[in-house]
């Protein structure tokens, strides 16, 4: 039977555990089963045979950990996988299909762990290149959706085989990384999986709620392989008997599960019992209903946003008209971008638009960096905003979850270059109602383009609910009809095409006074006309407020709960905050960032900028430093003071705009190779920046060569290296030696919990920084050319 035939049967049987049976035959805890395909092939073959005889229609090859990371040797992969496939085929003798079984690599993905998306992809692609002879590929026991995405993409790009994807969940319904069946489903369906499953973690009884949920939302066949109950905590043994297991698992058949097997603790007896149980009433087994999940939805790895009622898309990560964002992109300053992401999330954005296109910036490379960085601190779904298909594709590959592509339009070029990407990566797409002739002035014209885009999506196989239409806002000042035409177009698209709608409103008020008032009003009108996804700045109280008010009045916000929570708190806050005016020195000393900016602005009215820096900011920082040294204040307060100083300094330097903005003193920072601890380095980076130094942060796990190159490139007079682990001090020594030989003028400071003054000297460093403040003192002395003997 082929895969296609198998999934049309009332039910099909997978196999049971390999590891359990091997352990029964003497394999020790911690031993490596996949090598047995080479050293004890008869044993492995016999396990497969006993499952086929018990009724298995698909056997999983003994390759769960056969990746080059676990095997520590790429050439072993080339031996183990073909051998395992051969053994399975020999055992099956055509009675069962052979599934190339691939488990997680065994290393955590970035940003928590050291494995990059690209490296994971590569490792899986290598395994899949040996898939000849297998009938299907199965990825199982994954807990990290990002890793499973890399695996699935590798499979789709390396083989033509059907790909089964199974994840393992905890009792709370999520994986270790926070993924629920919904994110799994949304993401993997779009990427072309052939079946979705749940395995391991729990027994059949405990899996029932999860499996039932998956069956309700999946449009692909569902497969399950539970454990034989829960393990005994002391002995580690699984306790469910074959009959118990079979009985409990057959209950899941009523949810619509199509393929059944067993994971840890199961044996051929369990499978035989399961077969007997399922054969009793095959006609009772339901099919999965077609086309579930009415609402369009997008997701990150851990959060799904269903587009039901207005959802705010935050627009701030976009250089257009934003000086600070432009500068941040040119400097590669992720801190600023991440700050904007978190700020928008805190202000109520539900999706984040990411646009990093700017002359002078490699958009493709920056898109990848930005997406990875943003999804490391925010779990909001992303909207990738670019006119470059190349940048879009690069972003779509590394984005975790189901993203939105902004945008495609009615031009032939656009449809042909963007829609294939949308299809391949399973994204949603925003369609703009413009084409080669520009933007139609009338609603019917825009509707016609929308219809054309919808038709193109249909042809491409992109589900209608993944298409969002943006009818474009034109300026009311040039033609007063513009506002109503956009809204009319919006209504037409919604009613006749069944699509959700997107809109940015601020163009409406261009050229008129009281822009915010117009924007807010137009937004409210649009929401009433059916706008689903407004693109706006959630930090803008008027705009975000309009959405909240609409949600409350249109009953999206049940009992106006969110509205009340949001605004009664604010009223309290504004009553509580006094409108005192403090001196700049007071604000700096007390770490009051916003107040320091205000105070700086007021002070500039009567004092020269440079004088202010020397009379107020520098002394305040010095005093804070002294108080930290003496234990009167602590690290959090020092950081706060320095942040306030930085904020004040920014205001003052704008006032010094005629004067030459010197390239400030540059410090290169890095955490050495094999060490991925970085909060210590990040604290040093923040303090150095706040004290006015320019910092080039190379990140974590940086190889000696990369550090040397960066120091050369930046002509940096000072390098800071941090290491947490005793195991990585050797990397530090190598790095110091390399940098000293290539850039003798560069001074090197080292820090980190494991280091001491003596050790720092021993590895050739110039300075030892016992804490972040000491790092700042060293930097000050180095750049002042002053006496560094004391340090």
């Amino acid at each position: 039977m082929t895969w296609t035939q198998l999934i049309n049967e009332p039910f099909a049987l997978l196999d049971g555990a390999m590891g359990t049976v091997l352990q029964q035959k003497g394999l020790q805890a911690g031993g490596e089963p996949v090598l047995l395909s080479l050293t004890q092939p008869d044993l492995v073959r016999s396990v497969h045979e006993s499952y086929v005889e018990a009724g298995a229609q698909i056997v999983y090859t003994n390759t769960f950990t056969a990746n080059r990371y676990k095997l520590k040797d790429a050439s072993k992969v080339a031996e183990v996988i073909p051998a395992a496939i051969r053994l399975a085929k020999e055992a099956a003798k055509g009675r069962a299909l052979v599934a190339l079984d691939i488990g997680p690599i065994g290393q955590l993905m970035e940003p928590t762990g050291p494995m990059s998306f690209e490296e994971a992809y590569d490792i899986f692609a290598q395994m899949l290149s040996y898939s000849q002879g297998a009938d299907v590929v199965v990825f199982e026991t994954f807990t990290e959706l990002y890793e499973l995405k890399a695996a699935l993409l590798a499979a789709k790009e390396t083989t033509d085989l059907p790909v089964l994807c199974s994840m393992t969940f905890e009792a709370d319904g999520r994986t270790f990384t926070g993924t629920s069946p919904m994110e799994m489903c949304l993401t993997l369906e779009g990427l072309g999986a052939s079946a979705l499953g749940i395995n391991c973690s729990l027994g059949p009884k405990e899996l029932l709620p999860l499996v039932s949920r998956l069956c309700r939302i999946s449009s692909l066949p569902v497969f399950v392989k539970p454990n034989a109950g829960l393990p005994d905590p002391v002995s580690g043994e699984y306790r469910s008997s074959p009959e118990e297991f079979a009985r409990e698992l057959s209950v899941l058949a009523r949810c619509g599960v199509r393929l059944f097997g067993g994971c840890c603790g199961t044996t051929p007896e369990h499978l035989a019992a399961l077969k007997r149980e399922l054969e009793q009433k095959p006609s009772d087994l339901p099919r999965l209903a077609e086309g579930k999940r009415e609402n369009p939805a997008v997701c990150s790895g851990s959060l799904t946003v269903e587009i039901e009622g207005p959802c705010i898309i935050g627009e701030r990560i976009n250089p257009t008209g934003k000086k600070k964002m432009k500068q941040a992109l040119l400097d590669g300053d992720m801190d600023y971008i991440l700050g904007q992401a978190v700020e928008q999330a805190n202000a109520g954005a539900q999706i984040l638009d990411v646009n990093v296109g700017l002359p002078g910036v490699d958009e493709k490379e920056m898109m990848v960096r930005a997406v990875k960085a943003i999804q490391s601190v925010s779990d909001l779904p992303l909207q990738l905003d670019s006119s470059s298909a190349e940048a879009l594709e690069a972003g779509l590959r590394v984005c975790n979850g189901k993203a939105i592509v902004n945008s495609v339009n009615g031009k032939k070029d656009s449809l042909e270059s963007v829609l294939p990407l949308v299809k391949r990566y399973g994204a949603c797409v925003v369609g703009l109602t413009l084409d080669e002739n520009g933007i139609p002035p009338k609603a019917e014209g825009r509707f016609a383009i929308a219809e054309k885009i919808a038709g193109a999506c249909d042809k491409m196989g992109i589900p209608r609910k993944d298409l969002f239409i943006d009818c474009l806002t034109l300026t009311a000042a040039t033609d007063q009809e513009n506002a109503l035409e956009t809204l009319k177009a919006l209504r037409l698209c919604k009613e006749r095409l069944g699509v959700k709608t997107v809109l940015g409103v601020s163009n409406i008020s261009f050229g008129l006074p009281a822009r915010e008032l117009l924007n807010q009003s137009f937004l409210t009108m649009a929401l009433y006309a059916g706008l689903d996804l407004p693109i706006l700045n959630p930090n803008n109280a008027a705009m975000a407020g309009a959405v909240r008010a609409y949600r409350a009045l249109a009953a999206w916000d049940t009992d106006s709960k969110d509205f009340v929570n949001c605004y009664s708190q604010r009223e309290e806050d504004s009553r509580a905050v006094g409108m005192e005016e403090h001196s700049l020195s007071y604000c700096l000393e007390n770490g009051l960032q916003k107040e320091a900016q205000e105070a700086a602005r007021r002070a500039l009215a009567r004092t020269e900028p440079l004088e202010l820096v020397n009379q107020a900011i520098v002394p305040a920082l010095d005093r804070a430093g002294e108080r930290f040294e003496s234990g009167a204040i602590f690290l959090p307060q020092l950081i706060r003071c320095a942040s306030a100083a930085q904020a004040a300094f920014e205001v003052i330097s704008e006032a010094m705009a005629g004067q030459e903005q010197q390239r400030a003193q540059t410090v290169v920072l890095a955490t050495v190779k094999n060490d991925i601890h970085d909060i210590g380095k990040n604290i040093v980076r923040t303090l150095l920046k706040n004290y006015g130094f320019s910092v080039v942060d190379l990140g974590k796990e940086v190889a000696p060569e990369a550090v040397a190159r960066a120091v050369e490139r930046e002509k940096a007079p000072l390098l800071g290296l941090s290491a947490l682990m005793t195991t990585t001090v050797e990397s530090m020594r190598q790095t110091v030696a390399l940098v000293k030989s290539r850039c003798p003028q560069c001074r090197i400071m080292v820090g980190g919990a494991v280091l001491t003054e003596e050790y720092a000297k021993e590895i050739g460093a110039d300075f030892y920084a016992k804490d972040a403040k000491a790092a700042v003192d060293i930097a000050k002395a180095v750049f002042a050319g002053g006496n560094t003997d004391r340090l």
Binding site: Q28, A29, G30, G31, P104, G106, Q107, L108, P111, T112, G113, P114, T141, T143, T168, E170, T175, F176, T177, G178, C200, P233, V234, G236, D335, L338, G339, A341, V342, E343, N346, S376, V377, S378, D379, G591, G631, I633, F634, L635, P636, Q637, I639, R640, S643, N674, D675, I676, H677, I679, N682, I683, T686, L687, L724, M725, T726, T727, T728
Partner: protein, 204 residues
Amino acid sequence: MKPLCQSQWRTMALGFLKMKSAREEDWLGLFERGERLLFAHGCPRFSYVYRAFPLEHRQDEIAWEGSTLRLFGTAVRSHLQGCSQGVLLCLTLGQGADRAIRKAQAEDMALAVVTDALASAMTECACDEAEEEILSLDAFSSCGATSRFSPGYGDLSLSHQEEILKVLDAGRRLGVSVSSGGLLLPRKTVTAVIGLKEKKESRE
């Protein structure tokens, strides 16, 4: 299992931050904010796995019978002296803590410093809870127990981490792994050994 105690983890966090002499005003509301951030990411929920093995004290190593684990080093040999059994433990606060700390770094570095200390403190308190729960089981309640001892203490090398995780199957059961430098991931993860001996009149 008892829920973790907030005052305990706060006290410990203050120690990590070298802020024991700080007054509550000095905390700048950061402890509340840090806790809120951690709570929003699942903390202080924790999970752990453990197994018990008979120990064989050989000349240069301690073998954990029935597994592939061998411990090398004078410090651990001295710690486990006289113990006929050992409990191997791995506990983690999970990836939520890592995410919360990264988020804090993007928002406010002062908050990040405090959040990191709070998470470390929660991990320590969780280990105390887990240890208490394990040792109160029937299988162990009549034994004398040593304190926890982890790779990185004395000369017990970090290179043992990989083997410990393998033996406990902690990768699959807890989602924990170890980096090439010996760092456990997610960051707020601990492995430890506890020695068990026949109960004597005087506790160690």
